[in-house]
Symmetry: C2
Subunit: 290 residues, 2 copies
Protein backbone atom coordinates (compact mmCIF):
# COMPACT_ATOMS: atom_id res chain seq x y z
CA UNK A 1 0.00 0.00 0.00
CA UNK A 2 1.28 3.45 -0.82
CA UNK A 3 1.30 5.82 2.07
CA UNK A 4 -1.35 8.51 1.77
CA UNK A 5 -0.06 12.05 1.48
CA UNK A 6 0.12 13.79 4.80
CA UNK A 7 0.20 10.62 6.86
CA UNK A 8 2.79 10.57 9.63
CA UNK A 9 3.76 6.91 10.09
CA UNK A 10 2.95 5.84 13.61
CA UNK A 11 2.52 9.35 14.91
CA UNK A 12 0.86 7.66 17.86
CA UNK A 13 2.15 4.48 19.37
CA UNK A 14 -0.94 3.37 21.31
CA UNK A 15 -4.39 4.80 20.66
CA UNK A 16 -7.21 3.97 23.07
CA UNK A 17 -10.66 4.22 21.52
CA UNK A 18 -13.43 4.47 24.07
CA UNK A 19 -16.68 3.25 22.53
CA UNK A 20 -16.10 0.90 19.60
CA UNK A 21 -19.20 1.46 17.47
CA UNK A 22 -19.53 2.75 13.93
CA UNK A 23 -17.35 5.81 14.55
CA UNK A 24 -14.87 4.28 17.00
CA UNK A 25 -14.50 1.16 14.86
CA UNK A 26 -13.96 3.23 11.73
CA UNK A 27 -11.32 5.37 13.44
CA UNK A 28 -9.55 2.17 14.55
CA UNK A 29 -9.56 0.71 11.03
CA UNK A 30 -8.53 3.98 9.38
CA UNK A 31 -5.76 4.77 11.89
CA UNK A 32 -4.16 1.39 11.36
CA UNK A 33 -4.59 1.29 7.61
CA UNK A 34 -3.12 4.77 7.30
CA UNK A 35 -0.38 3.97 9.79
CA UNK A 36 -1.14 6.80 12.17
CA UNK A 37 -1.40 4.36 15.07
CA UNK A 38 0.82 1.40 15.84
CA UNK A 39 -1.66 -0.23 18.15
CA UNK A 40 -5.34 0.36 18.93
CA UNK A 41 -6.92 -0.62 22.25
CA UNK A 42 -10.70 -0.72 22.28
CA UNK A 43 -12.43 0.23 25.52
CA UNK A 44 -16.04 -0.63 26.26
CA UNK A 45 -18.44 -2.00 28.83
CA UNK A 46 -19.53 -5.02 26.83
CA UNK A 47 -16.72 -7.59 26.88
CA UNK A 48 -18.39 -9.88 24.33
CA UNK A 49 -18.77 -7.06 21.82
CA UNK A 50 -15.16 -5.97 22.33
CA UNK A 51 -13.98 -9.55 21.86
CA UNK A 52 -15.89 -9.68 18.59
CA UNK A 53 -14.30 -6.39 17.46
CA UNK A 54 -10.90 -7.94 18.28
CA UNK A 55 -11.75 -11.13 16.40
CA UNK A 56 -12.61 -9.04 13.34
CA UNK A 57 -9.27 -7.24 13.58
CA UNK A 58 -10.88 -3.86 14.14
CA UNK A 59 -8.98 -3.37 17.41
CA UNK A 60 -5.71 -4.98 18.51
CA UNK A 61 -6.59 -5.28 22.14
CA UNK A 62 -9.67 -4.94 24.33
CA UNK A 63 -10.07 -3.36 27.76
CA UNK A 64 -13.20 -3.21 29.84
CA UNK A 65 -11.39 -0.91 32.24
CA UNK A 66 -10.83 2.65 31.02
CA UNK A 67 -8.00 3.36 33.48
CA UNK A 68 -5.82 0.46 32.39
CA UNK A 69 -6.12 1.46 28.73
CA UNK A 70 -5.59 5.15 29.52
CA UNK A 71 -2.30 4.35 31.24
CA UNK A 72 -0.96 2.71 28.08
CA UNK A 73 -2.15 5.25 25.51
CA UNK A 74 -0.55 8.36 24.05
CA UNK A 75 -3.87 9.27 22.38
CA UNK A 76 -7.31 8.58 23.83
CA UNK A 77 -10.37 9.16 21.64
CA UNK A 78 -13.83 9.21 23.18
CA UNK A 79 -16.52 7.92 20.83
CA UNK A 80 -19.13 7.47 23.53
CA UNK A 81 -22.53 9.24 23.62
CA UNK A 82 -22.03 12.97 24.15
CA UNK A 83 -23.42 12.94 27.68
CA UNK A 84 -20.73 10.50 28.81
CA UNK A 85 -17.68 12.10 27.20
CA UNK A 86 -16.66 14.70 29.82
CA UNK A 87 -16.88 12.32 32.78
CA UNK A 88 -14.88 9.70 30.87
CA UNK A 89 -12.20 12.23 29.90
CA UNK A 90 -11.76 13.25 33.57
CA UNK A 91 -11.45 9.63 34.60
CA UNK A 92 -8.85 8.92 31.92
CA UNK A 93 -6.96 12.18 32.54
CA UNK A 94 -6.57 11.32 36.22
CA UNK A 95 -4.52 8.21 35.49
CA UNK A 96 -2.83 8.72 32.11
CA UNK A 97 0.81 9.66 31.61
CA UNK A 98 1.79 13.33 31.20
CA UNK A 99 1.87 14.20 27.52
CA UNK A 100 -1.15 12.06 26.71
CA UNK A 101 -3.56 13.72 24.30
CA UNK A 102 -7.31 13.24 24.74
CA UNK A 103 -9.90 14.01 22.10
CA UNK A 104 -13.43 12.96 21.14
CA UNK A 105 -15.77 12.52 18.21
CA UNK A 106 -18.89 13.95 19.83
CA UNK A 107 -21.64 15.70 17.84
CA UNK A 108 -21.86 18.56 20.35
CA UNK A 109 -18.90 20.52 21.59
CA UNK A 110 -19.95 23.46 23.80
CA UNK A 111 -20.89 21.66 26.99
CA UNK A 112 -18.06 19.13 26.73
CA UNK A 113 -15.34 21.69 26.03
CA UNK A 114 -16.65 24.08 28.71
CA UNK A 115 -16.65 21.25 31.21
CA UNK A 116 -13.09 20.24 30.32
CA UNK A 117 -11.58 23.71 29.87
CA UNK A 118 -10.13 23.66 33.37
CA UNK A 119 -9.07 21.16 35.99
CA UNK A 120 -7.27 18.52 33.93
CA UNK A 121 -3.94 17.31 35.40
CA UNK A 122 -0.81 19.14 34.32
CA UNK A 123 0.51 17.84 30.98
CA UNK A 124 -2.78 16.28 29.87
CA UNK A 125 -4.78 18.09 27.21
CA UNK A 126 -8.24 17.62 25.82
CA UNK A 127 -8.84 18.92 22.26
CA UNK A 128 -12.43 18.55 21.05
CA UNK A 129 -13.21 17.24 17.58
CA UNK A 130 -16.21 16.19 15.53
CA UNK A 131 -15.82 14.22 12.31
CA UNK A 132 -18.86 14.96 10.11
CA UNK A 133 -19.33 11.35 9.08
CA UNK A 134 -21.52 8.51 10.15
CA UNK A 135 -24.92 7.20 9.33
CA UNK A 136 -28.09 5.96 10.92
CA UNK A 137 -26.41 2.55 11.12
CA UNK A 138 -24.82 1.50 14.37
CA UNK A 139 -22.11 -0.87 15.51
CA UNK A 140 -18.61 -1.73 14.37
CA UNK A 141 -20.16 -4.17 11.86
CA UNK A 142 -20.69 -1.12 9.65
CA UNK A 143 -17.26 0.39 10.38
CA UNK A 144 -15.13 1.34 7.40
CA UNK A 145 -11.55 2.57 7.05
CA UNK A 146 -12.78 5.04 4.43
CA UNK A 147 -15.59 6.59 6.47
CA UNK A 148 -13.69 9.84 6.99
CA UNK A 149 -12.26 10.26 3.51
CA UNK A 150 -13.24 13.55 1.93
CA UNK A 151 -15.28 14.48 4.97
CA UNK A 152 -14.97 17.56 7.12
CA UNK A 153 -13.67 17.18 10.67
CA UNK A 154 -14.27 20.14 12.95
CA UNK A 155 -11.60 20.66 15.60
CA UNK A 156 -12.61 22.99 18.44
CA UNK A 157 -9.53 24.27 20.29
CA UNK A 158 -9.81 26.26 23.48
CA UNK A 159 -7.49 28.90 24.97
CA UNK A 160 -5.90 26.33 27.28
CA UNK A 161 -4.83 24.12 24.36
CA UNK A 162 -1.25 24.32 23.11
CA UNK A 163 -0.94 24.92 19.39
CA UNK A 164 1.14 21.75 19.18
CA UNK A 165 -1.66 19.60 20.58
CA UNK A 166 -4.23 21.18 18.28
CA UNK A 167 -1.92 20.60 15.32
CA UNK A 168 -1.44 16.94 16.29
CA UNK A 169 -5.21 16.33 16.47
CA UNK A 170 -5.69 18.14 13.15
CA UNK A 171 -2.90 16.06 11.61
CA UNK A 172 -4.54 12.88 12.91
CA UNK A 173 -7.78 13.67 11.07
CA UNK A 174 -5.95 14.86 7.97
CA UNK A 175 -4.14 11.53 7.95
CA UNK A 176 -7.52 9.76 8.04
CA UNK A 177 -8.50 11.57 4.84
CA UNK A 178 -10.58 14.40 6.30
CA UNK A 179 -10.46 18.13 5.73
CA UNK A 180 -9.98 19.84 9.08
CA UNK A 181 -11.79 23.05 10.00
CA UNK A 182 -11.17 24.89 13.26
CA UNK A 183 -14.11 26.48 15.02
CA UNK A 184 -14.92 27.55 18.56
CA UNK A 185 -17.11 25.05 20.40
CA UNK A 186 -19.96 27.58 20.43
CA UNK A 187 -19.71 28.28 16.69
CA UNK A 188 -19.64 24.53 16.04
CA UNK A 189 -22.81 23.99 18.04
CA UNK A 190 -24.65 26.83 16.32
CA UNK A 191 -23.70 25.52 12.88
CA UNK A 192 -24.41 21.87 13.62
CA UNK A 193 -27.81 22.71 15.08
CA UNK A 194 -28.64 23.95 11.59
CA UNK A 195 -26.91 21.29 9.48
CA UNK A 196 -27.51 18.19 11.58
CA UNK A 197 -29.64 18.52 14.72
CA UNK A 198 -32.55 20.39 13.13
CA UNK A 199 -32.69 17.97 10.16
CA UNK A 200 -32.82 15.12 12.65
CA UNK A 201 -35.84 16.61 14.42
CA UNK A 202 -37.53 17.38 11.09
CA UNK A 203 -36.91 13.85 9.79
CA UNK A 204 -38.22 12.33 13.02
CA UNK A 205 -41.32 14.55 12.98
CA UNK A 206 -41.96 13.55 9.34
CA UNK A 207 -41.55 9.87 10.18
CA UNK A 208 -43.95 10.37 13.10
CA UNK A 209 -46.50 11.99 10.78
CA UNK A 210 -46.66 8.97 8.45
CA UNK A 211 -49.66 6.80 9.25
CA UNK A 212 -49.17 3.04 9.22
CA UNK A 213 -51.61 2.48 6.33
CA UNK A 214 -49.65 4.85 4.10
CA UNK A 215 -46.28 3.17 4.63
CA UNK A 216 -46.67 1.20 1.40
CA UNK A 217 -46.91 4.51 -0.48
CA UNK A 218 -43.65 5.92 0.91
CA UNK A 219 -41.28 6.10 -2.06
CA UNK A 220 -37.67 7.26 -2.42
CA UNK A 221 -38.46 10.89 -1.57
CA UNK A 222 -39.93 9.98 1.80
CA UNK A 223 -37.19 7.43 2.43
CA UNK A 224 -34.38 9.91 1.76
CA UNK A 225 -36.02 12.66 3.76
CA UNK A 226 -36.56 10.49 6.85
CA UNK A 227 -33.53 8.16 6.68
CA UNK A 228 -31.75 9.72 9.68
CA UNK A 229 -34.85 9.18 11.83
CA UNK A 230 -33.60 5.60 12.14
CA UNK A 231 -30.70 6.86 14.26
CA UNK A 232 -30.33 5.73 17.86
CA UNK A 233 -32.92 7.51 20.06
CA UNK A 234 -30.67 7.53 23.12
CA UNK A 235 -27.69 9.07 21.29
CA UNK A 236 -29.90 11.68 19.71
CA UNK A 237 -31.66 12.60 22.92
CA UNK A 238 -28.25 13.40 24.39
CA UNK A 239 -27.24 15.40 21.31
CA UNK A 240 -30.45 17.44 21.10
CA UNK A 241 -30.54 18.22 24.83
CA UNK A 242 -26.78 18.80 24.89
CA UNK A 243 -27.28 21.56 22.32
CA UNK A 244 -30.70 22.73 23.45
CA UNK A 245 -30.49 26.47 22.92
CA UNK A 246 -29.01 26.28 19.43
CA UNK A 247 -31.51 23.56 18.45
CA UNK A 248 -34.35 25.77 19.66
CA UNK A 249 -33.06 28.68 17.56
CA UNK A 250 -32.78 26.48 14.49
CA UNK A 251 -36.27 25.11 15.07
CA UNK A 252 -37.56 28.68 15.19
CA UNK A 253 -35.82 29.50 11.88
CA UNK A 254 -37.26 26.33 10.35
CA UNK A 255 -40.74 27.28 11.59
CA UNK A 256 -40.42 30.66 9.94
CA UNK A 257 -39.37 29.02 6.65
CA UNK A 258 -42.24 26.54 6.87
CA UNK A 259 -44.64 29.41 7.51
CA UNK A 260 -43.60 31.11 4.30
CA UNK A 261 -44.41 27.94 2.36
CA UNK A 262 -47.66 27.45 4.27
CA UNK A 263 -48.77 30.99 3.55
CA UNK A 264 -48.04 30.75 -0.17
CA UNK A 265 -50.01 27.49 -0.31
CA UNK A 266 -52.92 28.93 1.69
CA UNK A 267 -53.08 31.98 -0.55
CA UNK A 268 -52.77 29.87 -3.70
CA UNK A 269 -49.84 32.11 -4.59
CA UNK A 270 -48.16 30.20 -7.43
CA UNK A 271 -45.54 32.87 -8.09
CA UNK A 272 -44.61 33.18 -4.42
CA UNK A 273 -44.48 29.41 -3.91
CA UNK A 274 -42.35 28.93 -7.01
CA UNK A 275 -39.90 31.54 -5.78
CA UNK A 276 -39.63 29.83 -2.38
CA UNK A 277 -39.02 26.48 -4.07
CA UNK A 278 -36.46 28.09 -6.38
CA UNK A 279 -34.53 29.60 -3.49
CA UNK A 280 -34.57 26.25 -1.67
CA UNK A 281 -33.36 24.47 -4.81
CA UNK A 282 -30.50 26.92 -5.23
CA UNK A 283 -29.47 26.32 -1.62
CA UNK A 284 -29.70 22.56 -1.98
CA UNK A 285 -27.95 22.42 -5.35
CA UNK A 286 -25.07 24.43 -3.86
CA UNK A 287 -24.08 21.61 -1.50
CA UNK A 288 -23.87 18.99 -4.25
CA UNK A 289 -25.46 15.59 -4.58
CA UNK A 290 -23.07 13.08 -3.05
Amino acid sequence: MTQPTGAVPHEFSTVAIVGVGLIGGSIALAAKQRRTALKVIGVGRNAARLAEASRRGIIDDAASDLASAARLADLIIFCTPVDRIAVGVREAAAVCRPGTLITDAGSTKGEICRDLAVGLPQGVEFVGAHPLAGSEQQGFEHASASLFENRVCVVTPQPANSSKSVARIAAFWTALGSTVTEMTPAAHDRALAETSHLPHVAAAALAATLSAENRVLAATGFRDTTRIASGDPELWTAILLGNRECVQSSLAAFDAALDRFRQAIEENDAEGLKNLLKAAKIGRDAIGSS
Copy 2:
Protein backbone atom coordinates in the same frame (compact mmCIF):
# COMPACT_ATOMS: atom_id res chain seq x y z
CA MET B 1 -33.98 -11.51 -23.18
CA THR B 2 -36.51 -13.60 -21.33
CA GLN B 3 -39.95 -12.12 -21.16
CA PRO B 4 -40.88 -10.85 -17.69
CA THR B 5 -43.75 -12.64 -16.02
CA GLY B 6 -47.05 -10.93 -16.59
CA ALA B 7 -45.94 -9.08 -19.70
CA VAL B 8 -48.40 -9.17 -22.56
CA PRO B 9 -46.35 -8.90 -25.75
CA HIS B 10 -47.37 -5.82 -27.66
CA GLU B 11 -50.55 -5.28 -25.74
CA PHE B 12 -50.46 -1.83 -27.30
CA SER B 13 -49.45 -1.22 -30.85
CA THR B 14 -48.69 2.51 -30.69
CA VAL B 15 -48.16 4.37 -27.43
CA ALA B 16 -47.98 8.15 -27.47
CA ILE B 17 -46.05 9.63 -24.56
CA VAL B 18 -46.75 13.29 -23.99
CA GLY B 19 -43.83 14.86 -22.15
CA VAL B 20 -40.59 12.94 -22.65
CA GLY B 21 -38.69 13.68 -19.46
CA LEU B 22 -37.44 11.37 -16.73
CA ILE B 23 -40.81 9.63 -16.29
CA GLY B 24 -41.99 9.72 -19.91
CA GLY B 25 -38.58 8.59 -21.16
CA SER B 26 -38.45 5.76 -18.63
CA ILE B 27 -41.95 4.58 -19.60
CA ALA B 28 -40.87 4.58 -23.25
CA LEU B 29 -37.73 2.53 -22.53
CA ALA B 30 -39.54 0.12 -20.19
CA ALA B 31 -42.54 -0.40 -22.49
CA LYS B 32 -40.31 -1.31 -25.40
CA GLN B 33 -37.89 -3.44 -23.42
CA ARG B 34 -40.77 -5.35 -21.86
CA ARG B 35 -42.62 -5.58 -25.15
CA THR B 36 -45.81 -3.94 -23.98
CA ALA B 37 -45.63 -1.42 -26.81
CA LEU B 38 -44.66 -2.05 -30.41
CA LYS B 39 -43.97 1.59 -31.14
CA VAL B 40 -43.56 4.69 -28.97
CA ILE B 41 -44.23 8.20 -30.28
CA GLY B 42 -42.86 11.01 -28.12
CA VAL B 43 -44.83 14.25 -28.04
CA GLY B 44 -43.38 17.53 -26.85
CA ARG B 45 -43.04 21.19 -27.55
CA ASN B 46 -39.28 21.22 -27.96
CA ALA B 47 -38.40 19.67 -31.33
CA ALA B 48 -34.67 19.61 -30.63
CA ARG B 49 -35.14 17.72 -27.36
CA LEU B 50 -37.47 15.23 -29.00
CA ALA B 51 -34.99 14.69 -31.83
CA GLU B 52 -32.31 13.96 -29.24
CA ALA B 53 -34.62 11.46 -27.48
CA SER B 54 -35.14 9.80 -30.87
CA ARG B 55 -31.43 9.75 -31.57
CA ARG B 56 -30.86 8.01 -28.24
CA GLY B 57 -33.47 5.39 -29.11
CA ILE B 58 -35.74 6.35 -26.24
CA ILE B 59 -38.67 7.01 -28.58
CA ASP B 60 -39.27 5.62 -32.07
CA ASP B 61 -40.86 8.72 -33.48
CA ALA B 62 -41.32 12.35 -32.50
CA ALA B 63 -44.33 14.63 -32.85
CA SER B 64 -44.57 18.27 -31.91
CA ASP B 65 -48.29 18.13 -32.61
CA LEU B 66 -50.39 16.27 -30.01
CA ALA B 67 -53.33 15.71 -32.36
CA SER B 68 -51.32 13.90 -35.01
CA ALA B 69 -49.81 11.54 -32.44
CA ALA B 70 -53.16 11.02 -30.69
CA ARG B 71 -54.75 9.89 -33.97
CA LEU B 72 -52.16 7.10 -34.35
CA ALA B 73 -52.11 5.83 -30.77
CA ASP B 74 -54.09 3.17 -28.96
CA LEU B 75 -52.62 4.32 -25.63
CA ILE B 76 -51.76 7.92 -24.75
CA ILE B 77 -49.84 8.62 -21.55
CA PHE B 78 -49.56 12.15 -20.22
CA CYS B 79 -46.31 12.80 -18.38
CA THR B 80 -46.65 16.57 -18.42
CA PRO B 81 -46.81 18.81 -15.31
CA VAL B 82 -50.04 18.13 -13.42
CA ASP B 83 -51.61 21.48 -14.30
CA ARG B 84 -51.38 20.69 -18.00
CA ILE B 85 -52.69 17.12 -17.99
CA ALA B 86 -56.48 17.65 -18.10
CA VAL B 87 -56.40 20.17 -20.94
CA GLY B 88 -54.06 17.91 -22.92
CA VAL B 89 -56.27 14.88 -22.37
CA ARG B 90 -59.32 16.77 -23.69
CA GLU B 91 -57.38 17.87 -26.74
CA ALA B 92 -56.19 14.31 -27.47
CA ALA B 93 -59.61 12.78 -26.72
CA ALA B 94 -61.26 15.05 -29.26
CA VAL B 95 -59.27 13.62 -32.16
CA CYS B 96 -58.27 10.05 -31.23
CA ARG B 97 -59.94 6.91 -32.47
CA PRO B 98 -62.74 5.29 -30.46
CA GLY B 99 -61.25 2.65 -28.18
CA THR B 100 -58.14 4.70 -27.43
CA LEU B 101 -57.11 4.58 -23.78
CA ILE B 102 -55.71 7.70 -22.13
CA THR B 103 -53.82 7.71 -18.85
CA ASP B 104 -51.27 9.85 -17.03
CA ALA B 105 -48.42 9.73 -14.55
CA GLY B 106 -49.33 12.82 -12.54
CA SER B 107 -48.49 13.22 -8.85
CA THR B 108 -51.98 14.55 -8.03
CA LYS B 109 -55.17 12.84 -9.07
CA GLY B 110 -58.24 14.55 -7.56
CA GLU B 111 -58.46 17.65 -9.71
CA ILE B 112 -57.45 15.87 -12.91
CA CYS B 113 -59.86 12.96 -12.48
CA ARG B 114 -62.71 15.26 -11.41
CA ASP B 115 -62.10 17.40 -14.46
CA LEU B 116 -62.09 14.39 -16.80
CA ALA B 117 -64.90 12.37 -15.17
CA VAL B 118 -67.42 13.62 -17.72
CA GLY B 119 -67.47 15.02 -21.21
CA LEU B 120 -64.97 12.81 -23.04
CA PRO B 121 -66.11 11.56 -26.46
CA GLN B 122 -67.92 8.22 -26.57
CA GLY B 123 -65.48 5.29 -26.63
CA VAL B 124 -62.52 7.23 -25.20
CA GLU B 125 -61.60 6.63 -21.58
CA PHE B 126 -59.23 8.34 -19.20
CA VAL B 127 -57.90 6.21 -16.32
CA GLY B 128 -55.68 8.10 -13.89
CA ALA B 129 -52.41 6.62 -12.66
CA HIS B 130 -49.39 7.64 -10.61
CA PRO B 131 -46.21 5.58 -10.61
CA LEU B 132 -44.40 6.22 -7.31
CA ALA B 133 -41.00 6.53 -8.91
CA GLY B 134 -38.77 9.33 -10.00
CA SER B 135 -36.14 11.50 -8.49
CA GLU B 136 -35.05 15.08 -8.22
CA GLN B 137 -33.25 14.59 -11.53
CA GLN B 138 -34.93 15.76 -14.69
CA GLY B 139 -34.82 14.93 -18.36
CA PHE B 140 -34.73 11.77 -20.43
CA GLU B 141 -30.95 11.70 -19.94
CA HIS B 142 -31.70 10.08 -16.58
CA ALA B 143 -34.44 7.78 -17.93
CA SER B 144 -34.13 4.10 -17.14
CA ALA B 145 -36.08 1.04 -18.25
CA SER B 146 -35.92 -0.24 -14.68
CA LEU B 147 -37.29 2.89 -12.98
CA PHE B 148 -40.65 1.28 -12.21
CA GLU B 149 -39.40 -2.12 -11.10
CA ASN B 150 -40.55 -3.03 -7.62
CA ARG B 151 -42.31 0.30 -7.26
CA VAL B 152 -45.93 0.95 -6.44
CA CYS B 153 -48.16 2.40 -9.14
CA VAL B 154 -51.46 3.82 -7.92
CA VAL B 155 -54.33 3.53 -10.40
CA THR B 156 -57.34 5.74 -9.62
CA PRO B 157 -60.43 4.46 -11.45
CA GLN B 158 -63.65 6.41 -11.49
CA PRO B 159 -67.27 5.23 -11.83
CA ALA B 160 -67.29 6.05 -15.54
CA ASN B 161 -64.34 3.73 -16.24
CA SER B 162 -64.99 0.26 -17.60
CA SER B 163 -63.37 -2.52 -15.62
CA LYS B 164 -61.65 -3.64 -18.82
CA SER B 165 -59.91 -0.29 -19.26
CA VAL B 166 -58.84 -0.19 -15.63
CA ALA B 167 -57.48 -3.74 -15.96
CA ARG B 168 -55.53 -2.79 -19.10
CA ILE B 169 -53.89 0.17 -17.39
CA ALA B 170 -53.11 -1.97 -14.33
CA ALA B 171 -51.64 -4.66 -16.61
CA PHE B 172 -49.50 -2.05 -18.35
CA TRP B 173 -47.89 -1.02 -15.06
CA THR B 174 -47.58 -4.61 -13.89
CA ALA B 175 -45.77 -5.38 -17.13
CA LEU B 176 -43.35 -2.52 -16.35
CA GLY B 177 -42.46 -4.23 -13.07
CA SER B 178 -44.66 -2.25 -10.68
CA THR B 179 -47.10 -3.38 -8.03
CA VAL B 180 -50.47 -1.82 -8.79
CA THR B 181 -52.74 -0.44 -6.05
CA GLU B 182 -56.20 0.92 -6.77
CA MET B 183 -57.37 3.95 -4.83
CA THR B 184 -59.94 6.68 -5.34
CA PRO B 185 -58.41 9.95 -6.57
CA ALA B 186 -59.28 11.60 -3.25
CA ALA B 187 -57.69 8.83 -1.16
CA HIS B 188 -54.58 9.01 -3.37
CA ASP B 189 -54.27 12.75 -2.82
CA ARG B 190 -54.69 12.46 0.97
CA ALA B 191 -52.05 9.73 1.16
CA LEU B 192 -49.56 11.38 -1.20
CA ALA B 193 -49.85 14.68 0.67
CA GLU B 194 -48.43 12.77 3.62
CA THR B 195 -45.86 10.58 1.85
CA SER B 196 -44.60 12.96 -0.84
CA HIS B 197 -45.94 16.51 -0.87
CA LEU B 198 -45.35 17.27 2.82
CA PRO B 199 -41.79 15.83 2.72
CA HIS B 200 -41.12 18.09 -0.26
CA VAL B 201 -42.19 21.20 1.65
CA ALA B 202 -40.20 20.09 4.72
CA ALA B 203 -37.07 19.41 2.65
CA ALA B 204 -37.41 22.76 0.88
CA ALA B 205 -37.90 24.61 4.18
CA LEU B 206 -34.82 22.86 5.60
CA ALA B 207 -32.77 23.76 2.54
CA ALA B 208 -34.00 27.34 2.90
CA THR B 209 -32.92 27.39 6.56
CA LEU B 210 -29.30 26.50 5.76
CA SER B 211 -27.13 29.60 5.71
CA ALA B 212 -24.54 29.89 2.95
CA GLU B 213 -21.59 29.87 5.38
CA ASN B 214 -22.72 26.54 6.86
CA ARG B 215 -22.97 24.72 3.53
CA VAL B 216 -19.50 23.24 3.99
CA LEU B 217 -20.73 21.59 7.20
CA ALA B 218 -23.73 19.87 5.58
CA ALA B 219 -22.94 16.15 5.71
CA THR B 220 -24.84 13.06 4.53
CA GLY B 221 -27.73 13.56 6.99
CA PHE B 222 -28.50 17.02 5.66
CA ARG B 223 -27.97 15.90 2.07
CA ASP B 224 -30.38 12.97 2.38
CA THR B 225 -32.99 15.00 4.19
CA THR B 226 -33.03 17.79 1.63
CA ARG B 227 -32.28 15.88 -1.59
CA ILE B 228 -35.80 16.29 -3.02
CA ALA B 229 -35.58 20.07 -2.58
CA SER B 230 -33.58 19.98 -5.83
CA GLY B 231 -36.76 19.05 -7.69
CA ASP B 232 -38.17 21.34 -10.36
CA PRO B 233 -39.85 24.39 -8.72
CA GLU B 234 -42.45 24.75 -11.46
CA LEU B 235 -43.53 21.10 -11.33
CA TRP B 236 -43.75 21.20 -7.55
CA THR B 237 -45.69 24.45 -7.46
CA ALA B 238 -48.35 22.78 -9.62
CA ILE B 239 -48.36 19.65 -7.43
CA LEU B 240 -48.60 21.50 -4.11
CA LEU B 241 -51.31 23.89 -5.31
CA GLY B 242 -53.10 21.08 -7.15
CA ASN B 243 -53.44 19.26 -3.82
CA ARG B 244 -53.76 22.31 -1.60
CA GLU B 245 -56.24 21.14 0.99
CA CYS B 246 -54.58 17.80 1.65
CA VAL B 247 -51.15 19.45 1.77
CA GLN B 248 -52.47 21.94 4.32
CA SER B 249 -53.82 19.10 6.49
CA SER B 250 -50.52 17.27 6.32
CA LEU B 251 -48.64 20.45 7.19
CA ALA B 252 -50.87 20.82 10.25
CA ALA B 253 -50.14 17.23 11.33
CA PHE B 254 -46.42 17.85 10.80
CA ASP B 255 -46.63 21.02 12.87
CA ALA B 256 -48.25 19.11 15.70
CA ALA B 257 -45.50 16.46 15.57
CA LEU B 258 -42.79 19.16 15.50
CA ASP B 259 -44.43 20.83 18.49
CA ARG B 260 -44.15 17.65 20.53
CA PHE B 261 -40.41 17.53 19.82
CA ARG B 262 -40.04 21.24 20.50
CA GLN B 263 -41.82 20.96 23.82
CA ALA B 264 -39.72 18.00 24.99
CA ILE B 265 -36.55 19.93 24.07
CA GLU B 266 -37.76 23.12 25.78
CA GLU B 267 -38.64 21.23 28.95
CA ASN B 268 -35.35 19.31 28.87
CA ASP B 269 -37.51 16.18 29.04
CA ALA B 270 -35.04 13.41 28.15
CA GLU B 271 -37.52 10.59 28.68
CA GLY B 272 -40.22 12.28 26.60
CA LEU B 273 -37.80 13.17 23.81
CA LYS B 274 -36.37 9.66 23.71
CA ASN B 275 -39.88 8.22 23.41
CA LEU B 276 -40.70 10.57 20.53
CA LEU B 277 -37.46 9.61 18.76
CA LYS B 278 -38.18 5.91 19.41
CA ALA B 279 -41.67 6.14 17.91
CA ALA B 280 -40.26 7.97 14.88
CA LYS B 281 -37.54 5.34 14.46
CA ILE B 282 -40.10 2.51 14.62
CA GLY B 283 -42.15 4.25 11.91
CA ARG B 284 -39.08 4.85 9.75
CA ASP B 285 -37.63 1.37 10.21
CA ALA B 286 -41.00 -0.10 9.16
CA ILE B 287 -40.65 1.23 5.61
CA GLY B 288 -37.19 -0.27 5.05
CA SER B 289 -33.98 1.29 3.92
CA SER B 290 -33.87 0.97 0.14
